[in-house]
Symmetry: C2
Subunit: 193 residues, 2 copies
Amino acid sequence: MYEVFFQKFRDKVSLTKEEEGLIKQFLTPKKLRKKQYLLQDGDVCKHIAFVEKGALKAYTVDESGTEHIVQFALEGWTISDLYSFLTGEPATYNIDAVEDSELILISKAAHEELLQQLPKYETYIRLQITGAYIALQKRLTSIISLPLEERYKHFTTTYPDIAQRVPQHMIASYMGLTPETLSRIRSRIFSRK
Amino acid sequence: MYEVFFQKFRDKVSLTKEEEGLIKQFLTPKKLRKKQYLLQDGDVCKHIAFVEKGALKAYTVDESGTEHIVQFALEGWTISDLYSFLTGEPATYNIDAVEDSELILISKAAHEELLQQLPKYETYIRLQITGAYIALQKRLTSIISLPLEERYKHFTTTYPDIAQRVPQHMIASYMGLTPETLSRIRSRIFSRK
DNA sequence: AAAACCCATTGATTTTGGTCAATGGAAAAT
DNA sequence: ATTTTCCATTGACCAAAATCAATGGGTTTT
């Protein structure tokens, strides 16, 4: 149940068996069926969720009811409304399951306790958030500097797993496009080469 | 010379005079004239730069020679090509001074040494990068979910200082627009209210 | 003080993506 | 097995932003 989590952890910081056991006490497993919410806009985000299996998405919904996907998370990724988690303010994102999923939850209390008790946990969190920041900055850069067709190619080469598993209209939403436009971009790419 | 830096540091983590002295040994001040480069695309990013005074921008340049601004940094902000800094890969951003500026540089060696010697430094870095991540995620959300006019308003209310000090064509670039389009959006906003 | 440059604005036109609508196929529900 | 539902695609049309081009106000340079 915790294999992927500790694998990712050890990729960043080495752990003894004892430390692993200590951490385990603070983790809560949770299963989520496809389309179930992990978090709803307006609620306070109570957990950081690590994806052991499955796929989730974080998104906003505008007045017209359109979803705008902010983030996908597959196995090995972490998802939350970090601002809400840290401040206790109501969340501005919804998070739900794109597929049946298995998660590992870290509550605010557990997070703070681990930061206190285990310096390696702080290092893990620091490296984890740093990686997320860099990935986000690259995404932003591709949005402001690449033409649409290049952006789509960049996306599919950076995240081939997401491109394969997730319905196209969600990818369109993630890219800030309508499904029709993404479909046309794809057909242009295929016909041209 | 180090006032703003330690002020920001203490906002996140308290420091004794001794600790402050220790950190100071690892910092290098640097002045930059308007338009001077701090980092050029292709070079390795050797430092994290903290802005004591002035304003910098990080940007890419596409084949047509157009700049795409990824980030601004005013007093109290930090700027670098973090990916290049951490991995030693060539940078993909240029960074230069929008105004005459005073910086505090942290080299890779200094960064690693401080992480080793001073747990509070790691905490500072963790909180700092967390804040940057949240800000970036908000920016991304506004890009994919808000209509242009709202996005501009969001920008000016979130960063009134940048909106005032930086030329409009740079803000257009930061928003992924042409200067003409931003100008028209502004005139629409002013005439409408 | 004049010249050169930078920059914001405005107009005319083109390009690009969005909207509305219909179709067909595949997957899920009954 | 058959009906729904969901989803990708395509077409016609519309709206929005980019491009091209010109103007004039400010700065800075000389």
